[in-house]
């Protein structure tokens, strides 16, 4: 026999009340924990891919769309820009690197990205097997692509046109897998990377092989245009990632580009902050909702203990007459509140992990991003103490009545 045993017996005696209190706590804690997890992982994903990219140039359109499509590969590109204009940027003394990107095809929903070797250097992608693509039509694939599509080194596949797997296939020209990257936690994991020239070749070839009107329909969405001129000067790319030599570039170059060229410059830091402040409204609302639910859970613990104490007044007097001290009984009631808080916390944490898992599944399907980190966050330790505090306060308030209980009168009344 100990206080804990009596407390648990009391909780089990009032199963539905205890269940309701624990459920509300679970909901509140689970929501907050899920928000923390999502916030942290989205933030990480966004930050990691953003690192070192000062500016993105793309066709005119929504700057956010340029950022999302070029850095995160989750939105459609705005259009094409001439490679010549991109290359002209290299001459600017403030510009350190220019990484042109060309996209428009996919394999099983994974984007095929034509770029220069600087791209993989920038993301510090290391090879797990094979070697980096060398010739046209050779590709090196990200770890997640390899896992999900079961492509191996030496395999050949044909890409589909467009950015989802429903697109028309380029059956006549096949890509060949020559290498697989190690998992890096960056966007590289979900990409099929090849030379810029592969993307040009495949579209040139298809245009050459098919009737011109078909080719026109095929490219009506304006993603990759094939130029009859094979020289680089006449080529188009989708966008380019730019790194500056120093912050001065930030002051002058975007304006220059927007004013004097057919391209538009988008600054990732500004656009992503804008995106997060948009998302932030939703997150803030959910967080407030979660806090309200937690408060209601506290009130529920309070009410159910208050009611059960009224019913158990005689029991308390009886236990006092049998030698229990008031402090001991007070502790017993505190343990009831604390047990509910602990149960609510742990079930909530587990629930948030299940929620994250479900969310991650759908995010993976839609965007190929995975959010699979289930470890306990430092913030959740604070959440734990917060839950304990709610349990203690909600249990302590009604339980203070123990100190005012008149043993003799209570025993005589019944």
């Amino acid at each position: 026999m100990n206080l804990f045993k009596i407390s648990i017996a009391n909780l089990r005696e009032k199963k539905l009340n205890s269940f309701l209190s624990a459920l509300l706590l679970t909901l509140g804690i689970g929501m907050i924990s899920l928000l923390l997890l999502l916030n942290k992982q989205l933030d990480e994903q966004f930050k990691r891919n953003l690192k070192g990219i000062d500016m993105v140039v793309g066709a005119k359109g929504s700057p956010l769309q340029v950022i999302l499509s070029s850095i995160y590969q989750i939105d459609a590109p705005t259009g094409n820009i001439p490679l010549a204009e991109v290359n002209a940027l290299r001459k600017n003394p403030f510009v350190k690197t220019v990484i042109p990107l060309s996209m428009g095809d996919n394999y099983q929903g994974f984007r095929i990205l034509g770029t220069t070797p600087k791209y993989t250097e920038h993301f510090k992608a290391k090879l797990a097997e094979g070697h980096l693509y060398n010739a046209s039509m050779e590709v090196t694939i990200g770890s997640k692509v390899a896992r999900d599509s079961k492509l191996k080194i030496g395999d050949q596949f044909s890409g589909s046109h467009g950015l989802d797997s429903e697109g028309e296939k380029h059956e006549d020209k096949k890509y060949k897998v020559v290498g697989i990257f190690q998992p890096s936690g960056t966007v590289v994991d979900q990409l099929i990377i090849t030379r810029l020239s592969s993307v040009w070749d495949i579209h040139e070839h298809s245009e050459g092989a098919e009737a011109p009107e078909v080719a026109e329909v095929e490219h009506a969405d304006g993603q990759i245009h094939t130029d009859p001129e094979p020289d680089e000067e006449g080529k188009n790319v989708t966008s380019a990632l730019i790194q500056f030599r120093n912050p001065m570039g930030l002051m002058t170059i975007p304006r220059q580009i927007n004013d004097n060229t057919s391209m538009q410059a988008a600054l990732p830091s500004i656009e992503i902050n804008r995106l997060f402040s948009l998302l932030g409204v939703g997150i803030e609302t959910l967080r407030t909702l979660a806090l309200i639910i937690i408060s209601i859970a506290g009130v529920s613990v309070f009410i159910s203990l208050y009611n059960s104490l009224k019913d158990r007044k005689y029991e308390m007097a009886l236990m006092l007459s049998m030698g229990a001290t008031r402090t001991r009984l007070f502790l017993m009631l505190l343990i009831e509140g604390l047990s509910l808080a602990v149960i609510g916390f742990f079930v909530g944490i587990i629930a948030s992990r299940i929620g994250l898992w479900v969310f991650s599944k759908s995010a993976e399907q839609d965007f190929h991003y995975s959010l699979g980190k289930f470890a306990l966050l430092p913030e959740e330790i604070y959440l734990f103490f917060g839950a304990l505090a709610i349990g203690v306060v909600a249990a302590a308030l009604p339980s203070l009545g123990i100190y005012r209980l008149n043993i003799s009168r209570t025993l005589a009344e019944e």
Binding site: M1, A9, N10, R12, Y314, G323, L411, A412
Partner: protein, 208 residues
Amino acid sequence: MISSNQLRFSYSAQKKFSFPDIHCNDKETLLILGQSGKGKTTLLHLLALLLTPESGEVVIAGKSVKNLTPQEITVTRAKNIGIIYQRPHFVSSLSVLDNILLSNYLANQKEDHQKARQLAEQLGFADHLSKKTNQLSQGEQQRVSIARSLMNNPNIILADEPTSNLDDDNCQRVIQLLKKQSAQIGASLVVVTHDQRLKDEFSNQVFL
């Protein structure tokens, strides 16, 4: 052994009680008879140290409890006095066995499972030990509360109307068990009641 000396208690200016002195040696029994409103329960609570008298004193096992602190009173009560109430009350979430063992636990004594089983055998509810107390009949519940009051081998057993809710058969059974058990451990047995059926069972009687 328990005795009282010129006990007085008042709930208000109109509601005052002064009680006759009582005395009950070890192994002896005492019946306190009185009609409703005569302060039977008040007297029992004074004897059980649940109330502090306005004047007068209670002597438990040869020691006056007059100048004890509330903690000392709690300890003295838990160690020396077993109380049986009119309506048996229990901690409803615990089993019959745990309710009996609760006496040991709350008095900081070692939990004596063997004694609990033995008492359950003698009092005839050994089959119900794992049940909840509200699954038992009134008579059974009263016998459980007798067992509970005996767990710490008290010096004094105080019973407040232990039989008034029971039929004749159960009344006889409970009172015989009380007498037998208190004699067995050498305790004083003080019964406060208005139940006239008990008149012939006790030789020492006090009328309020």
